[in-house]
């Protein structure tokens, strides 16, 4: 059972606001999707384990310095920046 509280909690975890008036319909819609997901509970649990596709292991890089980007480039897409920092301005 998906409850309103569940939806509120996962919305908070997801950093999403759910307007009060949409909470019921969203809970309902989540319930439908979860019911659908619940069909896997009928599947027998097998001994198969899944690690990763292609069963890769030990893919490493060597500890060699690669030149970093300039801070100008790093900050190029920042909605706000100041003094070479990304900025979240909280003053009005």
């Amino acid at each position: 059972m998906v409850t309103r509280e569940d939806v509120e909690n996962i919305a908070l975890l997801s950093k999403l606001f759910v307007p009060e008036e949409e909470l019921d319909s969203l809970t309902q819609s989540m319930q439908e999707i979860i019911d659908f997901a619940d069909t896997i509970n009928n599947a027998p649990t097998s001994g198969e384990t899944f690690d990763n596709i292609n069963n890769l292991s030990n893919v490493f890089r060597e500890d060699e310095v690669v030149e970093s980007y300039s801070s100008e480039e790093i900050l190029k897409n920042a909605p706000e920046q100041a003094e070479d920092h990304f900025l979240v301005r909280n003053r009005e």
């Binding site: 997801s14 950093k15 659908f36 896997i40 890769l56 897409n77």
Partner: protein, 485 residues
């Protein structure tokens, strides 16, 4: 048909210059994109610059590669340095990557002429292209119909001849399904054969980049070019199965083509008939058709949605208005800023999947959903391995239906998810799959069939697909759109 081979020939025999060719594509985009909405960003300047480079090369008598100077497009979730890359989401508006996706590095180094970035479902979440922030791309066969999704823009552009080919991404069918809807070819390669570096992630363990082309031959050419090992992607393996082009015309006499009965359940009659007709074509080519059961497929769809949404909820956490993209205007503190930015920046379907993914990973539900789904993923992988003991390739429908009318997809999420039922198993098992046109329904809408191969078995499925296309070429119809070559 403006295939790669044809364009290459035109350029090398100087029937037209690359600049002329590029301009004709750009003109056609200008004319038709208003109705098709395939492109979300046309990069005219860059395209003409590359065309000029190619022309200089040709003029100086240098040899050019197969993909050199061929006008193409990239799905808008492939990072292009300095060129806006939005995933067709409000939250990435204005974002210009400072690096290139590896696939684009490869193609750009071969002087591919990129005409622009194409439309897609927001963050590749959808099966109709309609969740795009910019509205859906239309089907070139009937613009009241969807192009399919999520790589709808690429399929629409290639289907309408306003790009010779394009690269899309396929997480649960996003290359094959729109290719099927638009009557063209779409290859989802084996997980690991094409680098994911620079592909904006939806579900990392399922995503794979691949070509959408007019013909199997073109798909093979593009796949061979982009399937390289990439040290930037830890899951990259490169072209383990070898290059495919030279094997396209191999004799398929004695090839065992398997049909899993489960793939035909719930499939529309016209689609089923077209796929079974294709089986007959194969029989006539000397292949052997074997029927078998694949009961594990029953759980593929919920397993897919659980894993995809779980990974998506994590992959999409980073859009917080701090480093790039959209940021809300009015807020009260950092937490409020992040929540508002995300709530305003993401569309409904994306939010729904983030919430679902968060739910299945959250304390108390992880075991029942995510862990169980991973376990079943193992079962499905094994089921395919077993199936390939009895056959060489699997033949199935790509989509249980043909392209539907616009506005009909988004109402009921679960119903919409069902359109992915034939495509998701391949992603779950990491296998290659190619969608090839195999006929039209009564309304003239294209039907696609899917050939599924063993891990790194691209050469085999492209071989089978090529042979079919040669034998049944009448399945191609040029639309009224685009460049006529």
């Amino acid at each position: 048909m403006g295939t790669i081979a044809k364009i290459h020939e035109m350029l090398t025999t100087k029937q037209c210059s690359c600049t002329e060719l590029t301009k004709s594509y750009l003109d056609e985009i200008q004319k038709s994109n208003g109705e098709l909405n395939a492109y979300v960003n046309v990069t005219e300047e860059e395209a003409l610059k590359t065309a000029e480079t190619v022309d200089k090369k040709i003029a100086s008598g240098e040899e050019i590669g197969l993909l050199e100077g061929v006008p193409m497009t990239l799905k808008d979730n492939l990072s292009t340095k300095g060129i806006e890359t939005t995933c067709c989401s409000k939250i990435l508006t204005g974002y210009k990557p400072i690096y290139n996706a590896t696939v684009w590095d490869i193609l750009a180094s071969q002087n591919a002429v990129m005409l622009g970035k194409t439309n897609m479902d927001e963050f590749a979440m959808g099966s109709s292209c309609e969740t795009s922030y910019f509205g859906g791309a239309a089907n070139p066969f009937n613009t009241n119909h969807v192009s399919g999704g999520s790589s709808g823009g690429v399929a629409s552009a290639v289907g309408a001849n306003i790009a010779a080919y394009g690269l899309g991404s396929d997480t649960g069918g996003s290359i094959r399904q729109p290719a099927s809807f638009c009557g063209i070819v779409g290859l989802k390669p084996t997980y690991g054969s094409v680098s994911r570096y620079g592909l904006i992630a939806y579900a990392s363990s399922l995503d794979q980049i691949g070509p959408i082309t007019k013909t199997v031959e073109d798909a093979s050419i593009v796949f061979d070019a982009i399937s390289e090992y990439d040290e930037k992607d830890s899951t990259s393996k490169g072209c383990m199965g070898g290059k495919t082009f030279s094997k396209l015309d191999n004799d398929i006499k004695g090839m065992k083509i398997g049909i899993a009965r489960e793939y035909l359940d719930g499939v529309r009659d016209d689609v089923k008939e077209a796929v079974l007709n294709a089986a007959e074509v194969y029989r006539s080519l000397g292949a052997e058709i074997v029927y078998f059961d694949l009961p594990a497929l029953k759980f593929a769809l919920p397993v897919y949605y659980i894993i995809a949404c779980a990974e998506a909820s994590s992959n999409l956490g980073r859009y917080d208005g701090i480093r790039y993209g959209y940021k809300t205007e009015h807020y009260n503190g950092t937490h409020d800023m992040i929540c508002r930015t995300r709530s305003e920046g993401f569309g409904e379907e994306v939010k729904r999947r983030i919430l679902l993914g968060t739910y299945v990973l959250s304390a108390g539900y992880y075991d029942a959903y995510y862990k169980k789904a991973q376990n079943l993923r193992g079962t499905i992988v094994k089921a395919f391995n077993d199936a390939f003991k009895h056959c060489d390739v699997i033949l199935a429908p790509t989509v249980p239906m043909t392209a539907f009318e616009m506005g009909h997809a988004v109402s009921d999420p679960v119903e919409t998810y069902l359109t992915d039922i034939c495509t998701v198993p391949v992603n779950i098992a990491g296998l290659p799959g190619v969608s090839v046109p195999c006929g039209f329904n009564a309304k003239g809408m294209p039907i696609g069939m899917q050939l599924i191969g063993k891990s790194f078995g691209e050469a085999e499925i492209l071989n089978a697909a090529y042979k079919y296309q040669q034998a049944a070429g009448e399945n191609f119809k040029d639309t009224k759109w685009g460049v006529k070559l």
